[in-house]
């Protein structure tokens, strides 16, 4: 049984310019102790989707889903107190900016023991012992001393380690990491990714890694979901995705990476991601897609079969060539 089941999750925001769909019918099925990555550019709705799952969106957001189930429990009908027992305990999250996601007014120790007190009901001595144990686990030197440090006294990498310690404090079964290394330097990024993978293996957690960095995806994830403008355009195991992408967007994105190109001029994707007011009528990628036909511009595609990575495309790619492609256009 999958640990997390999401079917057709949509998030719309009430804005001054009308309704804005930030996440458009995405589905995620995550098995226990699996590493899944959600990849996409800014504005693709990858963060909003997990924030909706964690119940962290403001009141202007409307979240709808056909199925939203964690470990067999239906999260749409569950009561608020029950939900609070799951979130932060069995399902925890790490945020992008370690410097801003910790409260600057409280010590690291306070913020760490808070979770232990609320979710596990530990007494003070137990809290302290466990907090030191956790800081040791995430590789912070002199953990007893660090408990009384404020976030501004620690570096970005250390703060991110504290965030990870808070997230894993209750031994969660699902850990969501939202761009955990984007704000960090390369050598620190390598340390944090290694730490996350080590913890994932030791504790058998499922790990959802949200990122825009294809390099991080290639080196950590087992299965990848690609998002574009709020829609899920493709999902595949990592090796298949990099070797044989099925959606033209994935293909174009991979081609535009400097490390995968040999020519001086990169094959870039023309144009920009559509915003709230310039969403095309048909396929959302059609204005930037060089395979686009009239059908793509008029009719939104439906998700393809599993062997095509559920690619949201009228002509999903097989070995880099579109299938069922009309003859006259090709000529």
């Amino acid at each position: 049984m999958p640990l997390l089941e999401i079917d057709n999750l949509s998030v719309t925001f009430q804005t001054a310019g009308g309704l804005f769909t930030a996440v458009d019918r995405i589905s995620l099925h995550i098995e226990p102790s699996e590493i899944v990555s959600i990849v996409g550019e800014s504005g693709s709705g990858k963060s909003v989707a997990v924030l909706a799952l964690m119940g962290l969106l403001p009141w202007t957001a409307t979240v709808t889903a056909d199925v939203l189930r964690f470990d067999g429990q239906d999260l749409t009908t569950i009561t608020k107190p029950e939900l609070r027992k799951i979130i932060g305990c069995q399902m925890a999250m790490i945020f992008q900016e370690p410097m801003t996601s910790l409260n600057p007014c409280f010590t690291v120790g306070f913020q760490l023991t808070e979770t232990l007190k609320i979710h596990l009901g530990m007494n003070r001595a137990e809290q302290k012992r466990r907090a030191i144990e956790l800081l040791e686990l995430v590789g912070i030197p002199e953990p007893e001393k660090r408990l009384s440090a404020f976030p501004h006294q620690l570096s970005g990498g250390m703060n991110q380690r504290v965030m990870i310690a808070i997230a894993i404090s209750c031994n969660p079964r699902l850990l969501i990491a939202d761009e955990p290394t984007t704000a960090l330097d390369v050598t620190i990024q390598a340390q944090i990714l290694d730490l996350l993978l080590k913890l994932q293996k030791e504790k058998g957690m499922s790990l959802v890694l949200i990122t825009h960095d294809m390099g991080v995806v290639a080196e950590t994830a087992e299965r990848v979901f690609v998002q574009y403008a709020g829609q899920q355009v493709e999902q595949q195991p990592v090796k298949g995705l990099f070797a044989r992408p099925h959606h033209p967007y994935t293909q174009a994105l991979l081609n535009s990476l400097p490390e995968r190109s040999n020519s001086r001029i990169l094959p870039s994707i023309a144009g920009i991601v559509p915003g709230q007011f310039d969403k095309p009528q048909g396929c959302l990628f059609s204005p930037r897609c060089h395979y686009a036909t009239d059908l793509c511009r008029e009719k939104p595609p439906t998700a393809g079969p599993v062997e095509f990575g559920n690619a949201l495309c009228h002509y999903p790619l097989a070995d880099g060539v579109p299938t069922n492609y009309p003859q006259e256009v090709r000529a």
């Binding site: 330097d185 490390e259 190109s261």
Partner: protein
């Protein structure tokens, strides 16, 4: 002509005095400590390093925003440390900069046309019509449309703003352009567009680029020469091919192995560095990299290594990796 040296820096150093309160002596922060390099027409020198390694200080010195504490900086045959004010004014035109964050580097109340014309207004005697024509020409050159002349920065996307920033840097026909992390705030698909623009402009105008970045895959794509910095000191500089195939310095090798590569089939050696960047106010003794270095010995703690040349690489290390040919 392509390959002509336009800028020579020798032992370029910049120290800052940091106040530490009433009762303590101000500390000396060695933001940049002895950088030697040249820039040539039509060539790109990339400077790589983590935050706090002095990349941006280098950019400020090369653009003459700040003067070096010691060392020489020679731009177009003129030594800027001894040049008078008038000469410097002229030199400012030849070195331009593109900043990292296109949201912060454009004045939100200034129309694009005005922002582009401002360098001309300050530095040249061009008339209104001439300035407008020049701005429109550049707008076209960087892939924007003439109607963008009358728009404000908020009406543009990140990629378009970076195009505007590049256009503004080119208004005075500079020889040298400093690109301070020009694509790190952009999405992958937009990053490729801007990199292409940067490359084609270089070919068109024979520009010398000082490309500052922390992203090694971008550097590998765009650079001719690469200089790796650590805590204010260049630790290794070489041509791109040498540096990426035969890195000598342990820090360069760790940096290369830590950079994620978008290829799940690659099996690679992973050198994970322990610890973090030390504070530049109290750098470690000897070689500043020694507390994190996997091949550290006693001599590294005592004396900073001299820069020496090994197989076309300028390396500052006692124990560089030697490749048998």
């Amino acid at each position: 002509m392509k390959g002509d040296v336009v800028l020579t820096a020798k032992d370029l150093t910049r120290h800052y005095h940091v106040d530490r309160g009433t009762f303590r002596k101000p500390a000396v922060l060695k933001a940049l400590d002895g950088a030697t390099f040249t820039l040539a027409k039509g060539r790109t020198l990339a400077v790589v390093g983590e935050s706090g390694c002095g990349k941006s200080t280098l950019a400020r010195l090369v653009t003459m925003i700040e003067k070096p504490t010691s060392g020489t900086l020679n731009i177009g045959g003129i030594d800027i440390t001894s040049a008078d004010k008038g000469t410097l004014m002229g030199l400012h035109k030849t070195v331009q900069i593109v900043f990292q964050d296109p949201y912060g580097s454009l004045n939100p109340r200034q129309k694009i046309g005005h922002a582009l014309e401002e360098p001309l207004l300050v530095n040249t005697t061009m008339g209104k019509k001439e300035r407008r024509d020049a701005a429109l020409k550049i707008i076209n050159l960087v892939g924007l449309r003439p109607e963008h002349y009358d728009r404000y920065p908020h009406m543009f996307s990140g990629g378009q703003r970076q195009r505007i920033a590049v256009a503004r840097a080119l208004m005075l026909n500079p020889n040298i352009v400093v690109l301070d992390e020009p694509v790190s705030a952009l999405d992958v698909s937009i990053q490729a567009q801007i990199l292409n623009l940067i490359v084609s402009l270089q070919e068109q105008f024979d520009l010398a680029y000082l490309f500052i970045s922390h992203d090694l895959s971008v550097v590998k794509h765009i650079a001719d020469e690469v200089m790796v910095m650590y805590l204010g000191k260049p630790v290794e500089s070489a041509s791109r091919d040498t540096l990426f195939t035969k890195p000598h310095h342990p820090y360069t090798r760790a940096l290369l192995s830590a950079t994620p590569v978008a290829d799940p089939f690659r099996v690679k050696e992973r050198i994970v560095l322990h610890g973090e960047l030390p504070s530049p106010i109290a750098p470690p003794s000897g070689c500043t990299f020694h507390p994190r270095c996997p091949s550290m010995t006693d001599i590294c703690k005592e004396k900073a290594p001299e820069t020496r040349e090994i197989d076309g690489c300028r390396v500052a290390c006692y124990h560089p990796k030697i490749y048998s040919s």
